[in-house]
């Protein structure tokens, strides 16, 4: 009962804070980017709140419990991805003035074709990321109420759509910042109580010779899969559509860097905890599932305190569903409205419904995989498509329109194919299964190679304004130089 109350509370808080933003956002640019009035700490909290999805809150602990030490790389990569993003992308991307990944593609390559292809990839990655959020919302809702899974998915989908439709970015920023601190508390407080309980139990440890604790163990091809996971997570972070949007709300490139540094700190603090949940789950012999985070506090700490702690983690889980789904919905809806519909606030509203409806339908239809596995696949697609586009676009003048198109098609296409085969036809076994389930180790090199080789073969198609774009991307804002006149189109 207290769990349902917690869920209702989180939903209400989300909607109310969202409604608070309605009064502030009126114009189209308000709707999208909060007119860049968001301070760095708010901004970093918002990035953290948006980024920590059900995969981080529930999925990591579940996978660690299932597969053991190799899964520790997942949170490491999801944090370290921000270091790669920081050094290769953050400041130039902010300086580009791009609001979405398609904007960046258009600004850098001066091509509508690359822009449209990027839009399609953003929508695909967004839906692939949203689908498991809805699925695990259903799973958790079933655990606490016994209702069929689609009810939980529907609940989250409706709250997200309402929130995005009513407030836009401004309210989302407040909601997201609130969600980060809620999620941190919801994982930290039960953990403290559980550690006390574990201590008074006489600190039970692993049975000697337990191989679960060893790295490079427990899967078919652990070395390949570990490296592929590392590649996908470290390089995929920069290509996530909902992460990029947040950089636009920094006032300049320098602030973008500093925000990323704060984000790295916030994420590092959060990701210390899921591993402990997984470890305690194994020690206490919990069943291997995504719901271990929800079940564990009640198992270790009994009585009303245990019930309160369970309610708290449940609230955190719903915060995770809502925050990530809201951020992704804004991004996907923005791209659909801008590049597929005709634009304007009305188109954004139609696009929002579309952005939520499709992954909701997929969540009901698709095979249910662990949430962190599916999110990992979304990272692999991002790493094989947008990572090369961003890195080469920012640092390599000779990138051509044809090269970018070919690289996005080859890398993004192959990764998407692997994802579809894994989700629909899987699980596959042996080498084929590993290559398809962790595609990044081969699709990322393919994407980079194709982009570079095709660019070198088509030197006449280097964008004409590349020199001006480079000035725009790399010179600090304090310098008074001509940065060209490209602006993102707010419809």
């Amino acid at each position: 009962m207290s769990q349902i109350a917690a869920v209702v509370l989180v939903m209400l808080a989300t909607v109310l804070i969202g409604a608070f933003g309605i009064r502030v956002s009126r114009t189209t640019s308000d709707f999208y980017v909060a007119s860049r009035t968001v301070s760095p700490v708010w901004n970093a909290s918002a990035i953290g709140g948006e980024y920590l999805s059900a995969a981080s809150f529930l999925g990591i602990a579940g996978l660690i419990l299932t597969f053991g030490a190799d899964m520790l790389w997942l949170p490491v990569g999801w944090t370290g991805g921000y270091l790669v993003l920081l050094v290769l992308v953050s400041a130039p991307l902010r300086r580009s003035g791009a609001y979405t990944l398609p904007d960046f593609a258009e600004a850098r390559l001066e091509s509508m074709a690359v822009r449209r292809l990027s839009s399609v990839l953003v929508v695909l990655i967004g839906w692939l990321y949203l689908m498991p959020q809805f699925q695990s919302a259903g799973l958790v809702f079933r655990t606490i109420t016994g209702a069929p899974p689609w009810t939980g998915s529907l609940l989250v989908a409706v709250v997200v759509a309402t929130n995005v439709l009513s407030g836009g970015m401004r309210s989302i920023t407040f909601v997201q910042a609130f969600q980060y601190w809620l999620k941190l508390t919801a994982l930290a407080v039960p953990l403290a109580f559980m550690l006390v309980a574990w201590w008074s139990d006489g600190r039970p440890g692993l049975t000697p010779g337990d191989e679960w604790v060893l790295p490079l163990h427990g899967r078919d091809h652990p070395v390949y899969e570990t490296y592929s996971l590392i590649l996908a997570t470290f390089l995929g972070t920069m290509g996530l559509p909902h992460v990029l949007v947040r950089f636009y709300t920094n006032p300049d490139g320098r602030a973008a860097r500093r925000t990323t540094l704060v984000v790295l700190t916030l994420l590092g603090a959060f990701y210390l905890m899921p591993a402990v949940y997984g470890y305690l789950g194994h020690v206490y012999g919990m069943p291997e599932s995504d719901t271990v985070v929800i079940a564990l506090p009640g198992r270790l700490v009994g009585g009303p305190v245990g019930e309160f702690l369970t309610a708290l983690v449940t609230a955190g889980a719903f915060a995770a569903f809502l925050s990530t789904s809201s951020g992704l919905t804004v991004s996907v809806a923005g791209v659909i409205a801008q590049d597929i519909l005709r634009g304007g606030v009305r188109a954004f509203r139609v696009a929002t419904v579309l952005a939520v409806l499709v992954p909701f339908a997929l969540a009901g239809a698709a095979r249910s995989l662990p949430v962190a596995t599916v999110v990992g696949l979304a990272f692999a697609v991002a790493a094989s498509s947008f990572c090369p586009l961003l890195v080469l676009g920012i640092w390599w003048r000779r990138l051509t329109t044809a090269g970018a198109m070919a690289g996005l098609l080859a890398g993004g296409g192959l990764a998407c194919a692997a994802v579809v085969i894994t989700i629909i036809g899987g699980p596959h076994t042996g080498w084929a299964g590993s290559l398809l389930a962790e595609p990044a180790a081969w699709t990322v090199p393919v994407s980079f190679t194709v982009m570079v080789v095709v660019s070198l073969l088509t030197p006449s198609r280097v964008p004409r304004g590349v020199a001006r774009t480079m000035v725009r991307l790399h010179t600090p804002e304090t310098l008074n130089v001509d940065r060209g006149d490209w602006r993102p189109r707010f419809m």
Binding site: A69, L72, W73, P75, V76, T79, G80, Y82, L83, V84, L86, V87, L88, A91, V213, L214, P215, L216, H217, V223, T226, Y227, I230, F234, R254, R257, R258, T260, L261, L264, T265, G268, A269, Y271, L272, A275, V276, Y279, W395, A467, R468, M470, V471, H474, T475, P476, T478, L479, N480, V481, D482
Partner: protein, 144 residues
């Protein structure tokens, strides 16, 4: 350039107008302008070289991009060594997989603990150096 002194001379002449009218012959006027325009001699700031995409401007831009890229590449290589090296280490020295540190399994202490402050530290050093590079570039471009 030539417009300035002439305007100064004519103003001077108008100021002395009454005297000139009585003698019928314009009096010679000494122009004593402080020549502020000449003191601020029109220079080509490097920002203009960059704006006009001259060879010099391109060289300066290239140097900025290269400096920042080298820094980025250095951080990424360091990260690749640490992150790529750990699985390799566990593969080549299997006894490390079962080693213990502070009574806890070593891989867990590293991957679930120590690596996070290391990432934050690396990021902090990078931000400091990247901002320094940009300040140096701004000084260089604006000094001339």
């Amino acid at each position: 350039m030539t417009g300035k002194p002439r305007r100064a001379a004519s103003t001077g002449a108008r100021g002395q107008g009454e005297g000139a009218a009585t003698t019928g012959k314009p009096r010679r006027v000494v122009v004593t302008s402080p020549r502020t325009a000449a003191a601020r001699r029109p220079r080509h700031p490097l920002t203009r070289e960059i704006d006009e995409q001259t060879r010099l401007g391109e060289v300066y831009m290239g140097s900025l991009v290269r400096t920042q890229f080298r820094l980025a590449l250095f951080v990424c290589s360091l990260l690749a060594c640490v992150v790529g090296g750990l699985p390799l280490l566990f593969l080549l020295a299997p006894e490390l997989r079962a080693a213990e540190l502070f009574g806890l399994p070593l891989p867990w202490v590293v991957l679930a603990g120590l690596i996070y402050p290391a990432l934050v530290g690396g990021a902090w050093l990078y931000v400091r150096q990247a901002e320094r590079n940009e300040r140096d570039f701004a000084d260089l471009v604006e000094r001339r």
